[in-house]
């Protein structure tokens, strides 16, 4: 691989949730759609596997580490020195596992034996906000076609992009601003609110829906009371919990929010003038027409 391609091509690790025909496919569709317009070029890592997510790390540390690290080794084999994992569950697991094998020689040997590949320490795993901030802010400003009107965006980061901060080394864990900067770059207003980094209940969707309903209610209430009319996310679990649970929340708490939950990649795509359907705007539970319509003005 030449120096030139190394710089512009980034290994793409979609993870299970955002691939076609999965519950968060519009995240993957919009990430790829946006990258085709403003870069960087994303190339899927060959034969990647599931990182094991919460179920692996909650029950078996070595299994979780090996499942995650295998993907990083595959990326290195394919010649990438940076990998984008848009799902924060994936990026967090990949980065933590890479860190764990680096710190523990015995674990590293066991994992190398299990995955039958050397463990890579040179590949950098990045989340989606990092990729946009590091590579594409100027391109957004240059290629922006539509200016949103009346959109008040609550940037919701959740847990996995930020914590543990010493290992992930991304943004301020208590008051992150990267997504707010991206929201400003597409010409929308980012509201100041208190729930940016609160937990949505993550993987308890099926096993403890009552916990998810309570935590997502608090987040929606925080956003609505701060004057937001849309919540932007960069995590499939945050999205699913906030988007699919609003009916349950209304039943439980008697307050109807009806706030569209959109991926930050969808907002960027709309600003770039991509077709709503090509961004998966029709795949949401809460109708997103209001957000799409906000982008009707062509920028002068």
């Amino acid at each position: 691989m030449t120096e030139e391609t190394k710089k512009t091509k980034i290994g793409y690790y979609p993870g299970c949730a955002i691939t076609k025909c999965s519950t968060s496919e519009e995240y993957g569709t919009s990430v790829l759609g946006v990258s085709r317009v403003i870069g960087p070029e994303l190339v899927e890592i060959g034969d990647w596997n599931c990182c094991g997510a919460s179920s692996a790390h909650a029950t078996n540390h070595k299994l979780s580490t090996a499942l995650s690290v295998r993907n990083i080794s595959l990326a290195e084999k394919d010649g990438y020195d940076e990998v984008l994992a848009p799902c924060p569950m994936c990026s967090q697991r990949l980065i933590i596992s890479q860190n764990d094998v680096h710190e523990d020689k015995k674990l590293r040997e066991e994992v190398e034996d299990a995955i039958e590949m050397p463990v890579s320490s040179n590949v950098k795993v990045s989340n989606y906000l990092e990729i946009i901030k590091n590579y594409s802010m100027d391109e957004i400003a240059e290629k922006r076609k539509k200016k949103p009107e009346g959109l008040k965006v609550a940037s919701y980061y959740g847990c996995l992009l930020l914590r543990p901060p010493k290992i992930l080394k991304f943004d301020d864990p208590e008051n992150p601003t990267t997504m707010d900067e991206i929201v400003a770059a597409i010409g929308a207003e980012a509201v100041d609110w208190e729930f940016k980094t609160n937990c949505c209940g993550g993987g308890f969707t099926l096993s403890r829906p009552n916990v998810v309903v309570k935590l997502t209610h608090d987040i929606l209430e925080g956003a609505a009371d701060a004057g937001a009319n849309v919540i932007a996310v960069a995590c499939p679990m945050c999205h699913a919990n906030l988007d699919m649970r609003q009916k349950n929340i209304e039943k439980e708490y008697g307050r109807r929010f009806n706030i569209p939950i959109v991926y930050i990649s969808e907002l960027i795509g709309l600003a770039l003038g991509l077709k709503p359907k090509d961004l998966g705007m029709d795949k949401h539970f809460i109708d997103t027409d209001f957000v799409v319509d906000a982008f009707s003005n062509i920028e002068e």
């Binding site: 025909c21 999965s22 968060s24 179920s55 909650a58 937990c199 916990v211």
Partner: protein, 184 residues
């Protein structure tokens, strides 16, 4: 809360064992309670996060490993992030869950959570990736009481083309099986 502590427990190696497995030193904790103050799920727990650390400090193995708390931890890592003594509390929950499963003492009241993890990992083991539909089916089959819960969401997902019945098998399925066999 009143818990009887025996000399045998006080002399036990529980904290040492936890440290050897995970590198987490619970002795550093001076029980300020900041972890509990910021925990989003504390309201559902039988013991507060700082009490779980106290159990480990005092050698109360049974209380820690059979608690519902270790399963209700959502791994949001707010506690570890804010701990003034840098005790990795969320990561401690991981190792306690692991030990509870190994010793067969996981609290049966949180069987939904343990069954979910099992169904999830079975899907990874079988295909190398998650097949959401089949993972869901296994979970619902093993937890029949949850069968009607969210009954309206599945069909909506299908209508939107977001739930596929066909699992995607990776080529390296054998390597994944090897990983699972090595780390049973």
């Amino acid at each position: 809360m009143k818990i009887k502590i025996t000399t045998k427990e006080l002399k036990s190696d529980f904290a040492k064992e936890v440290k050897e497995r995970s590198g987490i030193d619970v002795k550093k904790c001076y029980q300020c309670g900041k972890c509990t103050a910021g925990c989003p799920v504390a309201y559902e727990m039988d013991y507060m996060p700082n009490q779980i650390i106290r159990f480990v400090q005092l050698g109360l193995r049974h209380e820690a490993l059979t608690s519902r708390t270790i399963w209700l931890c959502a791994s949001c890592i707010t506690c570890s992030t804010r701990c003034p003594k840098e005790v990795k509390i969320a990561e401690l929950m991981d190792v306690l869950r692991e030990m509870a499963l190994e010793e067969g003492v996981a609290n049966p009241k949180e069987k939904n959570i343990t069954t979910f993890h099992k169904a999830f990992l079975n899907s990874v083991k079988k295909h190398g990736r998650i097949s959401e539909f089949w993972m869901l089916s296994e979970y619902k089959r093993k937890r029949p009481k949850t069968a009607l819960q969210d009954i309206e969401i599945g069909p909506q997902l299908m209508l939107k083309g977001k739930l596929s019945l066909t699992p995607h098998d990776i080529k390296g399925k054998k390597s994944i099986k090897r990983i699972f066999e090595k780390f049973k």
